[in-house]
């Protein structure tokens, strides 16, 4: 590939002077970037430089505040640039945080991205999709042994990353591929495969943006590199013209760090000793730190530095660890503000003082004066850019937020201060402030452990431990400490695990693909099915008559309403909400059937359809206002009750003949209640596990952002989900009418709590879009038959709730035990 010619060609995509501001923060500040077809451009920069924001602008997720996105040198798009626009232009991205739905499998994740948005798929689309996905994965990563039909949650992190990358690459019409830290969990062999495929894509004139902190890879695979700092490009050059070490120096910038005098700490007491610390990630760590030292932990990112720091934090704050001896508390300052640092609802003062509460209390109560002055002291020291300590923390720029976190860490009464990339996204002047503070803290007797991806700021350390792949591979002391030496030591000692070892790492989880019985037992429906069988057997042993056609008919006829209600609850739970009003809702549908349908079938049918639409509207309200479903459905329960009372103020009515005939039909061999339950279970199973739109509903319950980015409307998904739930409640109402031969809006309230208990027994989770229609159906049958069992045992019907509760606890205990075994 002749690189000299790219300067003449027109870029496929060009970003001109892009600015992106969030409130006070300038995430991108006049960013320029040219992307040429068929070339690989690396984008590097320290944390907080704006790489993620840049990527989100390119993919159309964030419209730029100002500047232009230009395609082919001619087509200019400004602030109206959108995700679908980007997709049309062939831009795809493999995200660092992985945009996968973990409750779905690999081919389903592919399909969410690639399939058209028609509600139903063509016959056999799943088989086809599985084959295509497998084939594609094999092309990019040969010998991956990934089961494309297994849920992502069962796959290891390297496998997930491979799927994420392949998913982005497999976009038809691919023109620009963005890979954001694509190799963070891949081993040498896979990285090579990735790079090989990338070159193949380049031959097809696809442009690739490669964001990585692994400079050795950038050196290997990229044609050009753009260095970002502070939201703009500070250097752009061909890869031949610069070495990784020089890149590091460019990223570090012109900070003056006082070279520390080689000090003698041997007289100081030990403050931390680590002997042979080994965990999943760390191997045989030995460390000895004296009081007052500033210790650096360096090495290429991802070598286990953060894990080591977190182990030290845990041990210092009460977690027992035989390998670590530490006699003081530790405070922790993280550069990952949003996940590990700031409390978004609080102001600056509260965020700073939260670790120092003991210092600001008088007589056991928080002293506003003390707390205020502590906050003000640090506020002035760190020269915040804000209106005062009472400003909301979210109104600050990233750098200023970081200042608050550092103040928190130093203000706390801890002997050790752990800093994990503390100057992430902080400007040069503030960094100087922070280094001064660290020195001050040291003089006040604290010990500092610093990990930073900016090697230049490591120069203020007394000693530096260099880490690589979870072990300490080198130690630099005193005069040895320089960026050059740090970088050299970080790049040396490369020991790639052999193919066999890494293959083992990848398939760690797969090894649990066991025998069929084991697999069956692990199914979510196993527990409710076993419970059902157990209760049935107990019932049968007490009353052998049960084991007959009429017996089973009688046993399960009252179960049908709960089956439908629980399945309805299941759909709401998949979408992330919970229905507190389905008891009353069934009361409403019950009386509609018992009165309206009885007297005027046309009107009745219309009323039931209107009910389903109303449920969908409720879902739309919940989604658009973001008010939690739990309270909206609670309010709705009064509305259902009210309407039900209008339809029939007193119990009464009757059951339409055709409905009774249907329920009482003598189905050959299997009693009708079971047939209906089976149909309900099968129908919902098909919707949830086989249908195309069901896949979208599931995905929405797990990773709605990813599904929405693929162009699916979240509102539609929510409304459809609620309408299905409403339809199931109509079925429940019908079955109640048959059983009671009439309607009573107040009689079904108890189903509400039972439906929650049923879905828990049935194997559903309240988050993550995990459900089991079969499990829920069997769970409903099980819980319903408890009452029959209790009647035979001459147990007070009051105790039904108690028994239900105990069964629930039992189910949870079993789940816990099996979870412990798996872990």
């Amino acid at each position: 590939m002749n690189k000299n010619q790219t300067v003449e060609k027109t870029p496929y995509l060009e970003l001109r002077d892009i600015t992106k501001t969030f409130g006070h923060t300038h995430a991108l500040n006049g960013m320029n970037l040219k992307i040429f077809p068929g070339e690989i451009i690396g984008v590097v920069g320290p944390n907080g430089a704006g790489k993620s924001t840049l990527m989100k602008v390119i993919t159309g997720v964030y419209p730029p505040t100002s500047g232009e996105v230009v395609f082919g040198g001619a087509e200019k798009v400004g602030s109206d640039y959108s995700a679908s626009n980007a997709k049309k232009h062939g831009i795809a991205c493999a995200y660092q945080e992985l945009s996968l739905c973990t409750n779905l499998n690999a081919y389903e994740n592919f399909m969410i991205n690639h399939m058209d948005h028609k509600p139903f798929g063509q016959r056999g689309w799943r088989k086809k999709a599985a084959k295509q996905t497998k084939a594609y994965l094999d092309t990019v990563f040969p010998n991956n042994h990934i089961n494309v039909k297994a849920p992502i949650s069962s796959l290891s992190l390297p496998q997930r990353q491979m799927i994420e990358i392949a998913k982005a690459m497999s976009n038809q019409n691919l023109q620009v591929l963005i890979l954001d830290e694509p190799t963070s969990s891949l081993n040498g062999e896979r990285i090579q495969q990735l790079h090989n495929y990338m070159r193949k894509l380049c031959e097809k004139q696809v442009a690739i943006i490669y964001i990585s902190h692994k400079l050795d890879e950038i050196d290997l695979i990229c044609d050009r590199v753009s260095v970002m700092k502070g939201g703009a490009c500070v250097l752009e050059t061909t890869i031949d013209a610069i070495s990784p070490q020089e890149l590091v120096e460019v990223m570090g910038g012109k900070v003056t760090v006082s070279q520390r005098e080689a000090a003698d700490f041997s007289g100081n007491p030990d403050v931390l000793t680590i002997e042979n610390l080994t965990t999943d990630v760390l191997h045989g760590i030995h460390m000895n730190i004296k009081k007052g030292e500033i210790i650096g932990i360096s090495g290429l990112a991802g070598s286990g530095q953060k894990e080591l720091i977190l182990e030290i934090f845990g041990a210092a704050n009460g977690k027992k660890n035989p390998a670590i001896r530490v006699d003081t508390k530790a405070s922790y300052v993280s550069g990952d503000r949003n996940t590990e640092g700031i409390f978004p609802l609080w102001n600056i003062a509260d965020n700073m003082v939260v670790s120092s509460l003991e210092q600001v209390t008088t007589n056991g109560f928080i002293d506003n004066k003390k707390s205020g002055s502590l906050a003000q002291r640090w506020y002035d020291k760190l020269k915040f850019i804000a209106n005062g300590t009472k400003d909301e923390i979210t109104s600050l720029s990233g750098g200023n937020q970081q200042k608050a976190l550092i103040a928190r860490g130093i203000a706390a009464n801890a002997g050790i201060i752990l800093l994990n990339d503390p100057t992430c996204g902080v400007d040069v002047e503030t960094k100087q402030e922070i280094y001064r503070l660290m020195e001050e803290a040291r003089r006040a007797g604290k010990t500092i452990i610093l990990h930073s991806t900016e090697d230049l700021e490591m120069e203020q350390c007394d000693r530096i431990y260099i880490m690589r792949q979870g072990s300490i591979v080198a130690e630099l002391t005193g005069r040895e400490i320089s960026v050059k030496n740090i970088v050299t030591a970080s790049f040396e000692n490369t020991q790639e695990p052999s193919g066999a070892d890494s293959r083992k790492e990848e398939s760690k989880k797969e090894a649990r693909q066991m025998s069929l019985p084991g697999k069956l037992l692990r199914n979510r429906a196993a527990l409710p099915i076993i419970t059902l069988l157990a209760i049935f057997i107990i019932n049968a042993s007490l009353n052998p008559n049960i084991v007959s056609y009429t017996g089973i008919n009688m046993l399960f006829s009252s179960a049908v309403p709960l089956v439908f209600i629980a399945l309805s609850q299941m759909f709401l739970v998949i979408s992330g909400g919970i229905d507190m009003g389905n008891g009353m809702a069934v009361g409403l549908t019950n009386v509609i059937v018992a009165f309206t349908v009885m007297n005027n079938p046309g009107l009745g049918a219309g009323a039931l359809i209107l009910f389903v639409v109303a449920y969908g509207a409720m879902g739309a309200l919940i989604y658009s206002t973001r008010i939690p479903a739990i309270v909206v459905t609670l309010g709705a329960s009064y509305i259902w009750l009210g309407i039900g009372l209008i339809v029939s103020p007193t119990p009464g009515g009757g059951c339409p003949e055709w409905l009774t005939a249907f329920f009482k039909f003598q189905f050959p061999g299997i009693p009708m209640p079971l047939v209906i339950a089976a149909l309900a279970g099968f129908g919902t199973w098909w919707i949830v596990k086989r249908s195309k739109y069901g896949m979208i509903i599931n995905g929405n319950g797990n990773n709605p952002v990813a599904v929405a980015r693929a162009g699916w409307s979240r509102m539609t998904a929510v409304v459809v989900t609620y309408m299905i739930a409403g339809a199931l409640l109509v079925c429940a109402g019908m079955s109640v009418t048959v059983i009671s031969i009439g309607g009573d809006v107040n009689a079904t309230a108890t189903y509400q709590m039972l439906s929650i208990a049923t879905i828990i027994l049935g194997g559903c989770e309240f988050t993550g879009g995990i459900s089991s229609p079969v499990g829920v159906t069997c769970g409903a049958l099980a819980i319903s038959s408890i009452s029959v069992l209790l009647t035979f045992l001459s147990v007070d019907s009051n105790l039904q709730s108690a028994v239900t509760g105990l069964i629930l606890i039992g189910a949870l205990a079993i789940k816990l035990v099996s979870r412990r075994k798996e872990a």
Partner: protein
């Protein structure tokens, strides 16, 4: 910035400030609702009556005590909710009637509180160490408590101790039932607990971001467990007094309070996601919901319309008061 210094404010600036204030003081909405309902009651019954206000505040007091526990649990975040309080209420009533008779009023009272605290302790332990989500934990625990209540109700008549009976029904301070003062006193205590103690500060941190809280040196387990204990203690307390008010305990005495405690908490401005609470809001929410029921009774509307209005008002005030978050793709 300059304009502010000089003291001049644009009309737009004033508008934004007002919106911000309302956003921070959501309790204003249920207060307006309660006052509006009081006026409506007056309109129907031919004149504003202070008596109506006092009667309803008396009724609301029980709901207030109960809802404060729910408020605390909800503030702890990660789906924090306590579905066991309805049964703990009954547990408190029955156990108090038994223990206060046998051991004397004060020791019996303390023992009842201790027993209810254990319910909360179990809730917390299961949630934290067995890692079961709060909804499931408290639901299951609630069923267990209910079965204990059922067993107790078979052998204990549930008559409240005479002191409690007198307190809840007959006692008067300045013409009003002292339960109002108890409720307000407890509310004040809870407010101090949530806003002026280390525990309260830590609770709000835990509710916003558990990981950040842990890394800031907060013991998340301790904070969450203490919160569940607080909720169960308040539920037990409610049960003891409610038993006195009703003149006797009965199994389902707490059932209707459960959903209303959630509603009162949320309407008052406590965030379901955690990290933000409003004791004042919960009081106003409980008051408004109680006034709503009173208004519907006085209106002599049919049961159907009463329920409809209740539901629409509940949803309406939620839509009006709860701050809407941006839809973020």
């Amino acid at each position: 910035m300059m304009m502010k210094d000089i003291g001049m404010r644009s009309a737009e600036g004033k508008n934004i400030d007002r919106k911000k204030w309302l956003g921070k003081n959501i309790w204003v909405w249920p207060l307006i609702g309660a006052v509006a309902l009081w006026i409506l009651i007056g309109a129907i019954s031919g004149g504003l009556s202070l008596d109506v206000l006092v009667t309803n505040f008396t009724l609301a007091s029980y709901l207030i005590i109960l809802s404060l526990g729910q408020t605390a649990v909800m503030t702890s975040g990660e789906g924090g909710i306590d579905l066991s309080i309805q049964y703990t209420v009954a547990l408190g009533a029955y156990f108090a009637s038994m223990s206060m008779m046998q051991m004397g009023a004060f020791p019996g009272f303390i023992l009842t509180i201790a027993v209810c605290a254990c319910v909360g302790l179990l809730n917390g332990l299961v949630n934290i160490y067995i890692k079961v989500p709060p909804m499931i934990t408290t639901l299951a625990m609630g069923y267990i408590v209910y079965s204990i209540v059922l067993v107790m109700s078979a052998s204990i008549p549930g008559t409240p101790a005479p002191e409690i009976s007198w307190f809840a029904q007959k006692a008067r301070i300045g013409g009003i039932s002292p339960i109002i003062l108890v409720a307000l006193g407890i509310a004040a205590l809870v407010a101090v607990l949530l806003y002026k103690t280390k525990y309260g500060k830590r609770l709000h941190a835990v509710g916003q971001n558990r990981k950040a809280a842990q890394l800031a040196g907060i013991s998340v387990p301790k904070t969450v467990i203490l919160t569940f204990i607080l909720s169960s203690v308040l539920a037990g307390l409610t049960g003891i007094f409610l038993g006195g008010y009703f003149g006797g305990a009965f199994q389902d005495m707490g059932i209707s309070y459960m959903l209303t405690s959630i509603a009162a908490t949320v309407i008052g401005g406590t965030s379901v996601a955690g990290g933000k609470s409003s004791v004042l809001g919960t009081i106003m929410g409980a008051l408004m919901l109680t006034m709503l029921v009173a208004f519907l009774n006085v209106s002599k509307l049919q049961a159907s319309m009463q329920n409809l209005i209740q539901g629409i008002l509940l949803i309406g005030i939620l839509v009006a008061s709860v701050p809407k978050k941006q839809v973020n793709i």
